[in-house]
Symmetry: C2
Subunit: 240 residues, 2 copies
DNA sequence: AAAAATAATTTGTTTTATATAAAATTTATG
DNA sequence: CATAAATTTTATATAAAACAAATTATTTTT
């Protein structure tokens, strides 16, 4: 039975909150991600199970725990949402993950596709002072090496007006600012195309048959599959 | 039942070695430290139990596990020593701990007495590339902010010819290079005396009654207790 | 609206890591 | 050598995470 005072106005983000286990933190991260990918803003048990590489029964059990800690809104057989403090926690973890990725890339010369794995470990280090100092040391970066926005200390996420290569207007200059997929396989494929954060390009046309797109960079034009194009985020820029 | 091939010439420091748990790593670190503090180079179950804040029965159980992994030389009821691969592991953990302390102090402006706690977490991050890059980023430091030597990538420890303030010759210039005790209480007491790594001083005399010593720095002379003096390491230097 | 399919939960176990008290055993000491 | 001290064994305990099988709820199909 919790002795913690009832939250004020729904806010439970008290400093006295007990530390989460590594697995709990990973669940929050997964739910956050799925929630944002889903449009409805809600997540199912099966989705979580698949993402966490586990079975639904295990997920249900964890949801009960997260619910007891008031990190999610949960009713049996209903869809799941993060609570306000759950979102706050998830954003802190995301913040740590992306700051560490930035550190590894900017300071230790890790390549784009090497940062993720190590950041998965570093994101679970608990020290407020550490992460705020790291942020300052890095110059308060707004985006990580993948172009993903880094929540600030208050958990505010910089907005991005990025769109995928599938949705961007044709024949206008745009610059790659982020990728939706951070898997090694994807990042390495991008390297084969000479694509990375900061590269500018134009989408010339889209094939009606398979939705692949023709892309023009500094070098010769080439085709990207629908799947690949959908995972590349760009913003319009003035100059090529 | 282990399927790992028998070790060659006692060396089991294979790269394929399974990762240790956090607790196992902490045991190795403790045994390493006790072993070096003990002169005999051997460690007892009770000592370990006290240092790890646990009971002897728990220690015995862990020793069995560490022995199975060939990290210690262990026979029932006998004293304990790290094996060669145990030493190698301990040195790697010590290396990580001290490199992270250096990072926190040099790059993130953590004070002397703040670095230890966070480094205790960071030392358990597993990534060879991370630690070698960090080492390079820091300029391959030989000593951490407490003045303790940092093992290099091969596990070689820089030798230190430091002696404690109790043993140093009187009336010669010497410089503080390390402390034996890293507790917050001790470090904070040193601050009260204006003492830290790099400070130069002379030991003027030792009281026969309580072994306290009279110390001369740039400011007024003052007394240090035997206990405090024994935890401060210095090397002789040319200039005051 | 009933039947079938799908999704989620409960129940009963399992595993792993760590820890303990109490009893038994070995070693050390006076 | 008798006793004290140290260590080990035995028998449990707990917590976190996981899963299979059975059950229950919800959704979809007919």
């Amino acid at each position: 039975m919790s002795l913690v005072a009832k939250s004020l106005g729904g806010f439970v983000n008290l400093p006295s909150m007990q530390a989460l286990t590594l697995t709990e933190e990973n669940y929050l991260k997964s739910i956050y991600t799925l929630q944002h990918r889903n449009a409805t803003g809600e997540v199912s048990v099966n989705e979580i199970a698949e993402r966490m590489q586990t079975k639904p029964a295990t997920v249900t059990d964890m949801l009960r725990k997260l619910s007891e800690k008031e990190l999610i809104h949960y009713e049996k057989y209903k869809k799941i949402q993060l609570s306000e403090s759950g979102i706050a926690q998830a954003l802190q973890i995301l913040r740590k993950h992306r700051l560490w990725e930035t550190f590894l890339h900017d300071k230790l010369q890790f390549s784009w596709d090497e940062v993720h794995e190590v950041a998965e470990q570093l994101e679970h280090i608990h020290s407020k002072k550490l992460i705020e100092s790291l942020d300052a040391f890095l110059g308060f970066p707004k985006y990580d090496p993948h172009g993903d926005p880094i929540p600030n200390a208050k958990g505010e996420m910089p907005v991005s007006r990025a769109v995928t290569l599938l949705n961007v207007e044709h024949d206008i200059n745009c610059q790659i600012v982020a990728v939706k997929d951070s898997s090694t396989a994807f990042l390495q494929q991008l390297e084969r195309f000479g694509l990375q954060i900061g590269v500018t390009l134009q989408v010339k046309e889209q094939m009606a048959y398979d939705n692949s797109i023709l892309v023009q960079t500094k070098s010769d034009p080439f085709f990207l599959s629908e799947k690949t194009a959908d995972n590349i985020l760009v913003i319009p820029v003035a100059e090529l």
